[in-house]
């Protein structure tokens, strides 16, 4: 299977977008007055969190479509989305900790968002473990789809349950809680940088999903070829 020209172009676009976002974070966005340079973590933190959520949404939709249509492609999309989501939520948690150390004076608190993000990570690691435990490919896809749906429904409920307690995580977009620590008002250049980061990461997401689907297809071909040789 040859690599498509569109995919090649997308690779380059992704690279440019990410370099652009990085440049904006370092040179365009101002240094926040109270928090200093560490606040710049925020741009990639939000962007990777966004991509992580998007991936898990994709995985759930792919799961539903797989259960309805039973076509292999939706399974590939599901796995691709989950694997990418795990990485990006991990990036979100790590960048968050880096920011929290100086601002909250701790790497970790049992705040709803932090806890939910980590539970979400565990749900999708369980998804990977479930798939690894099943040998029959058709059953693996089916169970994966079911678990992606169940997990995606459970995560917001977890968030909601913990949310009933007070949170100290800052809400920068739409509304602010006076008890939140580390809140700041975004000036236009900050907002622009954040949006560019989000768009850049979204392009990266599409690029990665595409690559992962291609990889999945190639893996299936290899499996078929191996099967033919055995005959």
């Amino acid at each position: 299977m040859k690599k498509l020209t569109t995919l090649r172009i997308l690779d380059i676009v992704t690279l440019v977008a990410l370099l652009g976002a990085t440049a904006m974070v370092f040179f365009y966005a101002p240094i926040e007055r109270v928090m200093g340079a560490v606040q710049k973590v925020f741009y990639f933190h939000v962007a990777s969190g966004w991509v992580g959520m998007l991936s898990f949404l994709f995985a759930a939709i792919a799961g539903i479509l797989y259960l309805i249509k039973k076509t292999k492609i939706w399974d590939l999309v599901g796995v691709a989305a989950v694997e990418i989501g795990i990485i990006f939520i991990f990036i979100t948690i790590v960048t968050g900790s880096i920011w929290a150390r100086p601002i909250w004076n701790t790497w970790w608190t049992w705040d709803p968002r932090l806890t939910t993000a980590t539970i979400m990570e565990l749900v999708y690691i369980a998804y990977i473990m479930l798939r690894q435990g099943i040998d029959d490919p058709e059953r693996r896809s089916r169970f994966g789809a079911v678990y992606a749906i169940v997990g995606f429904i459970s995560v917001p409920l977890t968030f909601f349950s913990i949310r009933i307690f007070r949170t100290i995580h800052p809400v920068v977009i739409a509304g602010s809680d006076p008890s939140a620590v580390g809140t700041f008002d975004m000036i236009p250049s900050m907002f622009q940088t954040m949006m560019v980061s989000i768009v850049g990461f979204s392009i990266l997401f599409i690029d990665l999903v595409w690559h992962r689907i291609r990889l999945g297809k190639l893996a299936n071909q290899v499996e078929e070829l191996k099967f033919n040789i055995q005959d």
């Binding site: 259960l67 539970i119 565990l122 749900v123 369980a126 473990m129 479930l130 690894q132 435990g133 099943i134 040998d135 059953r139 089916r142 169970f143 789809a145 079911v146 678990y147 749906i149 169940v150 997990g151 429904i153 459970s154 409920l157 977890t158 909601f160 349950s161 913990i162 009933i164």
Partner: protein, 237 residues
């Protein structure tokens, strides 16, 4: 049973949903009554968990009052996990699951039958653990409100648990897989149950805990209906 002529083949009419469901429940209860494998294992395990907590946390009266709800729920959840794993593994190992699936009944009836049986087992264990806990620590923790929380909480737990257990038993790594699949997903039910229970044990009025009860009911409905919708794809071959 009356036979219906259908395309030249004589087929039996489908057993009604509830009849099939109660047949599955009944089968599990009878099997348990004769073997007493599941409940005895769950019960001994539950008592051991309480004893381990006693030594691990040094439960003097002061710390204990804050921890009772948590200890109870961890005990119930762990024992329940044991029961769920076993109840599906028995079906799988002896080929009973295939037999059940071949039966001309709605497959969701099998799901609900298994869930209700598991639910009953969990409730029996809880009903024995509660008085024992009360005796061991010389406090009466049994109250109608707490029983209601246990009823609602364990329903949500078995609803998703039965679904995931029927997936886990079909995997190579089934012994370790169920808790890993189940615990992160069941967290909302656990949080609401623990919060409601600890509120009841601290003597808060029912109106203060209304939110948690409502949440529990909502979670039960959501989890049961999701499991109900996807169960067919878990058992189809």
């Amino acid at each position: 049973m009356k036979l219906i002529q259908k395309g030249g083949i004589k087929v039996q009419p489908k057993t009604s949903f509830f009849k099939a469901m109660f047949a599955v429940v009944w089968k599990d209860l009878i099997a348990e009554l004769r073997g007493k494998e599941l409940i005895s294992a769950m019960l001994v395990f539950a008592l051991l968990v309480i004893f381990i907590f006693n030594f691990a946390l040094e439960l003097d009266p002061k710390t204990r009052s804050a921890l009772t709800a948590g200890i109870l729920w961890v005990t119930i959840i762990f024992a329940g996990n044991l029961g769920l794993n076993r109840s599906m593994a028995v079906e799988k190992d002896r080929g009973c699951l295939d037999g059940l699936l071949l039966a001309p009944v709605d497959r969701t009836a099998i799901y609900f039958g298994k869930s209700i049986a598991n639910w009953i087992f969990m409730l029996i264990v809880a009903m024995i653990v509660l008085p024992i806990y009360s005796i061991l620590y010389n406090t009466n923790i049994i109250s109608p409100a707490l029983l209601l929380v246990i009823l609602l909480g364990s329903e949500g737990y078995v609803a998703i648990g039965t679904l995931l257990a029927s997936m886990a038993v079909q995997a190579r790594t089934r012994d370790i897989l169920l808790p890993i699949l189940l615990f992160p997903v069941i967290l909302p039910v656990l949080i609401a149950s623990v919060k409601a229970s600890s509120g009841i044990l601290s003597g808060f009025p029912f109106s203060d805990l209304q939110t948690w009860f409502n949440l529990l009911i909502v979670y039960d409905i959501i989890f049961t209906s999701v499991a109900f919708m996807v169960f067919d794809s878990v058992v189809e071959e």
